[in-house]
Symmetry: C2
Subunit: 338 residues, 2 copies
Amino acid sequence: MHVPPEASPALVFETLNAHQRTEALIAAIDLDLFRAVGEGHDDVPSLARRCAASERGTRILCDFLVVSGLLQKEDGRYRHTPTSALFLDPRSPASLASSAKFLGDPMLREPFRRLTEIVRTGCTTLPGDGSVEPEHPAWVEFAHSMAPMMAPMAAPLGSVALDGLDGNVRVLDLAAGHGLFGIEIARQHPGAHVVAVDWAPVLEVAHANARRAGVADRYERLAGSAFDVDFGGPYDIVLLTNFLHHFDWATCVSLLRKVRQVLSPRGRAAALEFVPNDDRVSPPMSAAFALIMLATTRAGDAYTFREYAAMYQEAGFARTEATPIPRAPHTVVTGYLA
Amino acid sequence: MHVPPEASPALVFETLNAHQRTEALIAAIDLDLFRAVGEGHDDVPSLARRCAASERGTRILCDFLVVSGLLQKEDGRYRHTPTSALFLDPRSPASLASSAKFLGDPMLREPFRRLTEIVRTGCTTLPGDGSVEPEHPAWVEFAHSMAPMMAPMAAPLGSVALDGLDGNVRVLDLAAGHGLFGIEIARQHPGAHVVAVDWAPVLEVAHANARRAGVADRYERLAGSAFDVDFGGPYDIVLLTNFLHHFDWATCVSLLRKVRQVLSPRGRAAALEFVPNDDRVSPPMSAAFALIMLATTRAGDAYTFREYAAMYQEAGFARTEATPIPRAPHTVVTGYLA
């Protein structure tokens, strides 16, 4: 049998075992292994002691993490890679360890184990509206835990949203979650006043973050669903961060229409999104995001820029612009009234 | 905050989502999607119809598989990659689709969801001896399903094992499973006579394979555990394929000692194994294999060549040689009496 050199059984094997990489990272975070490495514990006995784990388990887990690029090993001693030092050591200000708790949440992973059924029906196996079911507890957890992963996006999003605006700027932050995006705008612009919309328990988290950032006096809470609550207004900026992808086209358009009605003439809506190219298979992270929407929502998607632009247009916006966030899978898709 | 260019939050994100690649591949195999692509169905409506699946689910799954390198897409049409054509289309003689059923088996994956606990204790959460518990049903499934993944290893292993032998060659195939390795030796050498050892229900599978290969008249079954059964002998070749890695050092040595006692003076034991380098973190697939042994056995491991050589020596063998199998993560580790 002829096997072309580009055909690889290793890719099949590696894909079948890929779940182990997820489990290994979650276990290492649970065991606080990355903190131990950062503290200088660098051999198996010392790491095992520090993590209250077995030596066999610690050695095999650490070696596996080296293979996965999340630790390095030299002369039998383990140390951080640049990635693990910055993003996995809980002592690092950029640590994503808490985000892992969210992405590794068994509730959000469970549907993937029923993916065959989900592909057949085209709809999540989670009850109701899936992860966007009203008051879903996942989003309190999201607000708590995903802030670190989202933080690097806040500054670039803030610049795009504020571009060309001065004086008093009214900001509506829809599905605010941890609130970081609205808070960043308040920090970047002293004239900004933010109204944050989300379910009440989620807004607790956002408000605490606003207090910590010293902008609580310009931070207002409006509890409820973005679909139901009266926004008031007018606003110069409406933020829709990691939100539209959960819904079908018609729902997105109707929400954008509601947003347009509360925008000032100089106003703009800024959506932070995973935006694949028109081919829907690149860039990899944005394109792959669609599977999460398939597994956990009724009709969400990773929409292309062309699709978002069409939604904005259908909702009455004058023009749409895309601003990719450097070194992140996200793009700001901004709709302008003028 | 300074972020060194080699630090990548994407790697963390990608690792946390890696389990989705496993689920997507298993779902695609379940839905018989790779057969549909091979038959020429190349757009979403036609693939969805053929797989009795939704269009939304089919589109998102296919795009995800493109991102994963397991399909390609051009002008909105899907087709096989060289890898999926050869190894995932069930119509291909090299199809690994059935092996995926084994590697994706929920029973064998379940311990990975308890990896934190396993690293703490150093021992599988599976009952008893884990995957090597006597008469474990997984190995009947293994015998049925893993033959395609193992087939490319059989010819190179056969050459190594037979090297320098002629005339009547007695072969003992321990934990024979699907039996392919002993059967291949019988095919390569008409003077070879094979005795296959495994649990009785597994030997049914091996014997059916021997019949299909036309070597059943030189194929004998010896039901029982390799640790308990009387091997008879003497033998010129003893095969230990994908077996030693399940056990601790002492168990391996005692089995090799039992093997040595039934070898003829020209005899050799040939172990097919995942053999990482001394650093235990390369090559990636062999090194990563240790995690499977951690998760599913009490004391198994991916032993290095140095360790296997020491075990062979401790068991009374004169010398040990390593022969890596081309384009596979396996190595033949052969112990010789002379």
